[in-house]
Symmetry: C2
């Protein structure tokens, strides 16, 4: 690839710098930065958009804010005129796990793949403009490969290189079996980039190895190499583990405004800036301001977090819902109705529990009849909402606040 | 597989033992012996022949006695009514080396594969009855596999298991690259056994790993496992390296009776019995007798070697040619025309050398004109044959004896 930077005039150079500032925001690693800069320059000189690839596993279509770290970055490219290539990894999905050992990798039917893809798209539409996206199903090219093609592909990579992948290395070291077919997942991901001539591939840092496979195979097939753009992994509400459904530390982008806002308020203070950087539509300048205002004390951490909660709700439910969620929070949690310190109670029972049982089990009331009477007398609130129905089933979540009468409060710890 | 041994009557048991004695003769390893015995028992009880597999590389069709070690073993199975499955590995041959690094593995055309196969068959016909052989080209099933099939196949083997293969292990240890496609050669060989439901696979000890792949994949595909029957590798005429064309220490089965006989006489004494065991059609009893007679001194090693030479020529050219070759040898090398000790001269020059130059280079004569005169005077013999043509080009082989006049002899050492 020739040096397009050198061919830029001053105005164009400013534009490259502007885009680079945006794309670099919050990124963990760009491999290599100079090539990204050159590709942006090329797109300006040739007036041709770059192709930005994102591969999707069709088996887990529930999208939470952890996923939007990458989606937000894609949106930035899209807003600058570049093309998003979404690749549904349906070929892998349809194969499942040939060893039959992994439950997670169950074989998907065509219908399931389509349904899951549709679920993705509906959710993605909240972040990126799906009208402008290129959609690809990789079975289109992978299912046409025969044994000879596969051998030609396999001839372009060494066993040693594949064994360098962290999880393979760890499993070899600990004597855990790697089935040979597992070596093909990175190969497929790399080959997708060859077929689609991707300029940039986005992913979390856990995709480091697989995304570099794209560069490797593009080079071996005589194509221009893609740039790897690796985003940090977003810790979940617990501030410890990567946000995921299985850890129940996530904010789903389909959740109600009130849930979203409430969960956002439970993020540890030290993660706030990272959330602003990675999952909001704030510009680099806006983020810089939040950082500075927090540092100088102009912005109180609680207010910053409320801004974050409101921003998240606005992004997924609009301005009106965001304002309402904020008002609700203020009225319940701030307008003096809650004591400063609420005792926490560990909950090990069922996730869905009848409100009557809950009140007794938490020892807020002494008997089911007493509990029923208290509800009928409008004396029970959950997260500030009065309980009207004595048969209500409560979905127990972390941080849920239960109030009985004027003074009794507990906060659920799960 | 049930225990067929238990179902045998006494006569059948004797037959199983008889066959096992033959099949075990000269074998390096049977994996496992009990299964082979049981398979032979089954073939007797069910009156169904066993399927004996031999895979052939279509890129190197020149057959020498080293190859007949396995062919002779196949012949024994054939003589007992079992079926030989010859598999031409044309699928691999047509792919060649996808990395383009190995010259040996060049891509073969359909015509080349067919021509090479035909060359094999013509030569094999000297050892086994080609009329009764099942012929298979593995491209028939391997070329129909698609990527999904390949992944299913790859899911049935672990990376660790493949890395156990000696040459892979050594290359990993010494930091030499293994291309991923190389992992597929043992898989293909194993899958061939699945498709053909082979009972026994024959090969040299260097095929240990690949032949066990057949057992592995047959088991993973729910089939009866084949038995591996591994033959020792035959050292060549130098008594050191495995017989091979590249080492020029071989006896080709297409060579002339005189060449064959002469080369056989150059085998080191300590290898004689191994040659009788592995490449002649001698029965176990006959071999036993040779061994004993050599031990007791009844048989002189030179006479044993002459018996070996005559046997080899008889097997590939018939009895008459064998007798003639013997007579020729006796007349030239034994009828008092040769001294007991002939000085050996190391030859590092060209393989094809004009006789005049040869005589001068060996310092048998002082000048080219002197050498020319000596030939014209009928004073030069090579291996007992008088040289008539002063322009003769001599193909220099190990053990070639050059005589000038009555008393000057040298033996070429290569």
């Amino acid at each position: 690839m020739s040096d397009f930077i050198k061919q830029l005039n001053e105005e164009q150079l400013t534009e490259v710098k502007r885009q680079m500032t945006i794309y670099s925001q919050g990124v963990q690693e760009i491999i290599p930065t100079e090539e990204l800069k050159n590709k942006v320059a090329k797109s300006i000189i040739e007036n041709k958009p770059l192709k930005i690839k994102l591969g999707l596993d069709p088996s887990a279509p529930d999208v939470h804010l952890g996923h939007t770290v990458v989606l937000n970055k894609m949106r930035q490219f899209q807003e600058n005129g570049h093309i998003i290539q979404l690749i549904i990894g349906d070929f892998t999905g349809k194969i499942g796990d040939p060893t039959g050992k992994s439950v997670a990798r169950k074989q998907l039917t065509d219908e399931e793949v389509k349904h899951n893809a549709k679920t993705y798209f509906e959710q993605f539409a909240k972040v990126i403009d799906m009208e402008k996206v290129e959609l690809h199903y990789n079975s289109k090219w992978l299912s046409t490969l025969n044994f000879e093609d596969v051998i030609q592909l396999a001839g372009k990579i060494t066993v040693a290189r594949l064994l360098e992948r962290d999880d393979f290395e760890e499993r070899i070291a600990s004597g855990k079996a790697i089935s040979l077919h597992e070596f093909f997942y990175p190969l497929m991901q790399g080959y997708d980039s060859v077929k689609l001539e991707c300029d940039i591939e986005l992913g979390g840092t856990d995709q480091h190895f697989n995304i570099l496979m794209g560069r490797h195979f593009q080079e071996r097939f005589g194509k221009e190499k893609q740039v790897a753009l690796l985003m940090p992994l977003l810790e979940g509400l617990d501030g410890v583990d990567k946000m995921s459904k299985s850890k129940n530390n996530y904010i789903g982008i389909d959740e109600s405004p009130q849930e979203m806002y409430g969960k956002a308020m439970s993020i540890p203070d030290e993660l706030m800036v990272k959330y602003f950087e990675l999952i909001t539509d704030f510009t680099p300048e806006q983020i810089q301001k939040v950082k500075e205002d927090l540092k100088t004390g102009v912005l109180h951490p609680r207010d910053a977090k409320m801004l974050l909660g409101k921003t998240i709700v606005r992004m997924y439910h609009g301005m009106e819902a965001a304002s309402k969620a904020e008002q609700h929070f203020v009225s319940v949690f701030q307008r003096g109705t809650l004591p400063d310190e609420i005792p926490e109670v560990k909950w090990n029972g069922n996730v869905d529990t009848p409100v009557i049982n809950l009140l007794v089990d938490l020892q807020l009331l002494n008997s089911k009849s007493e509990a029923r009477r208290m509800i009928e007398n409008r004396g029970v609130k959950i997260n500030g909402d009065r309980v009207e129905d004595t048969n209500l089933k409560v979905a127990i979540t972390d941080g849920l606040i239960i109030q009985v009468g004027k003074r009794k409060f507990v906060k659920i710890k799960r």
